[in-house]
């Protein structure tokens, strides 16, 4: 039993009808890394993320987070940002903060309030009155204000402008504990390449590459972005 392992997938398979969204995927991630989960649309990134969060039931295989199957115990240590808006639009930003504080022991109201202030988001606003980008920022603030062991961010910067992207990436780096692991799924590789320690390429529901960014740069002499373009060339 390796204490450093935060996430382990064994022969993980998810099938929809005759379509394999994930097929026999084996993966081990250690703590203290920022990992990019990269792959074209429909490659299985979101399916993998949903399985880790217990939002889907695997067809076969298993997911373990610190040797535990997805359960209330793992949800206490995993902070997840989905690729969609999951907050009730009728609620106010402040009510969402209270909601998170009520359910997650590791949520810091102070951190969240500070980030809202930095991004000039009024906590008294209702979510439905906010733009899509601002809603995404609020969700990210909620997720990053937790002191979790595993952060899973599905397309965290897809809907925000480039200026806000820089702030968000800085915010992610500032708020995550170095012992924690950050798994980021995105298409915007160049934007996040500099913060990544490791990349996972996923293709047709299978792991095509699991390598450290240093390995890619030193051994292959390429950036993650150019390797991605090469591997997933249409």
């Amino acid at each position: 039993m390796n204490e450093n392992v935060i996430l382990e997938c064994q022969s993980l398979t998810k099938k929809y009808g005759n379509f394999y969204a994930l097929s026999n995927l084996d993966l081990t991630l250690e703590k203290g890394q920022i990992v990019g989960l990269l792959g074209p649309n429909g490659s299985g990134k979101t399916t993998l993320i949903k399985l880790i969060n217990g939002l889907l039931t695997p067809t076969a295989g298993q997911v373990m987070i610190r040797q535990m199957a997805p359960s209330p115990a793992t949800k206490k240590i995993v902070s997840y940002l989905p690729e969609r808006s999951y907050i009730n639009p009728h609620m106010k930003v402040q009510e969402m903060l209270t909601y998170f504080a009520a359910f997650y022991d590791d949520f810091s109201l102070e951190t969240a309030t500070g980030m809202l202030r930095d991004l000039e988001i009024d906590p008294s606003m209702r979510l439905r009155a906010l733009s899509k980008g601002t809603k995404e920022k609020v969700q990210l603030i909620l997720v990053m204000s937790r002191d979790a062991q595993l952060y899973i961010l599905d397309e965290p910067i897809g809907g925000v402008d480039p200026a806000a992207r820089d702030y968000i990436l800085r915010m992610i780096l500032k708020n995550y504990n170095e012992d924690a692991t950050l798994l980021i799924s995105t298409h915007l590789i160049t934007d996040i390449e500099n913060i990544l320690d490791r990349v996972l390429f996923i293709q047709n529901g299978q792991l095509a590459l699991n390598a450290s960014v240093d390995e890619i740069r030193t051994d292959r002499g390429k950036s993650v972005d150019s390797l991605f373009r090469e591997v997933f060339k249409c």
Binding site: K50, N53, G54, L55, L56, T57, S71, P72, A73, K75, K76, V78, Y80, P82, R84, S85, Y86, I87, N88, Y99, A102, F103, Y104
Partner: protein
């Protein structure tokens, strides 16, 4: 955890619930003050009956709409909170599927019981109009004879029956929605179809039991020579007992179905 979940479940939709029931009570107050307190029960029968039929039809419709709105509120909360985008947050809270289910069951029952209390109290409020009470005194004996029991006992029986059925009603909604989720392409349509199938099963079983136990008034009358009042009383008590047993059995089945789907077949699309 369960307390927190219930608190947020009740918070959701509270405004809609309050508005709907406030409207119901305003209608009841207007109905009593401007109609029941003023109606002349000595007016010619034909005129009186047509006005009363109109009044009661309007209130039956209003009560049905309020009950339906409450059921929709409970169903919408369950569906939206567990199976739409909101589910991405609900299912990543540190709560087990069983806690989530019980929170929904208890909050649904609380909404439903509050709805019944407000409906029955509105009915009672209109019933105790002095004008109605005076008129009823004239036919009370006749009415009691035909019901086989005093109206107050009948009213209490109805209240009790409704409250006992609350858990079963809520679970029927939840089981239907959960089964509908197994068919991602037509989730809502399937949920509605399953709900009607459950409804038909309960109806068929109730009718079957009434026939088997010879409790239907017509059957009882033709089979026996007992008087009509006794038959009605037996019918009502029999229906009460059968509903009680059927509600309990169906509630257990529907709970098991919902529990299995939420714990083993959860697939947020």
């Amino acid at each position: 955890m369960l307390k927190k979940l219930i608190k947020y479940d009740l918070k959701y939709g509270a405004k809609i619930f309050i508005v709907i029931h406030a409207l119901l009570w305003i209608a009841a107050i207007f109905g009593r003050v401007f109609f029941l307190d003023r109606i002349d029960f000595d007016a010619p029968t034909e005129q009186l009956v047509s006005v009363l039929v109109l009044f009661f039809s309007a209130f039956v419709l209003l009560f049905s709409v309020v009950s339906l709105a409450t059921a929709l509120l409970i169903a919408a909360r369950f569906y939206k909170n567990l199976f739409t985008d909101e589910g991405y947050l609900t299912w990543t809270l540190p709560a087990s599927p069983v806690q989530q289910l019980w929170a929904k069951i208890l909050s649904g029952c609380i909404w439903n019981i509050l709805d019944l209390i407000l409906l029955y109290s509105a009915t009672y409020f209109m019933w105790i109009s002095p004008n109605v009470q005076n008129a009823y005194r004239m036919i009370a004996a006749e009415f009691t004879a035909s019901l086989g029991m005093p109206l107050s006992k009948f009213f209490l029986l109805m209240v009790l029956l409704s409250i006992i059925g609350v858990g079963s009603n809520v679970l029927m909604l939840y089981a239907s929605i959960s089964i509908g989720q197994l068919f991602p392409a037509h989730r809502l349509l399937l949920s509605v179809i399953v709900y009607f199938i459950f409804y038909m099963i309960i109806y068929a079983l109730s009718m079957g039991a009434l026939i088997i136990f010879k409790l239907l008034p017509g059957i009882a009358l033709s089979a026996n020579t007992v008087n009509e009042a006794a038959s009605m009383s037996t019918y009502l008590t029999g229906t009460f007992l059968i509903s009680l047993v059927l509600s309990a059995v169906m509630a257990v089945i529907q709970y098991v179905i919902t529990h299995l789907i939420l714990t083993r077949k959860l697939n947020l699309i």
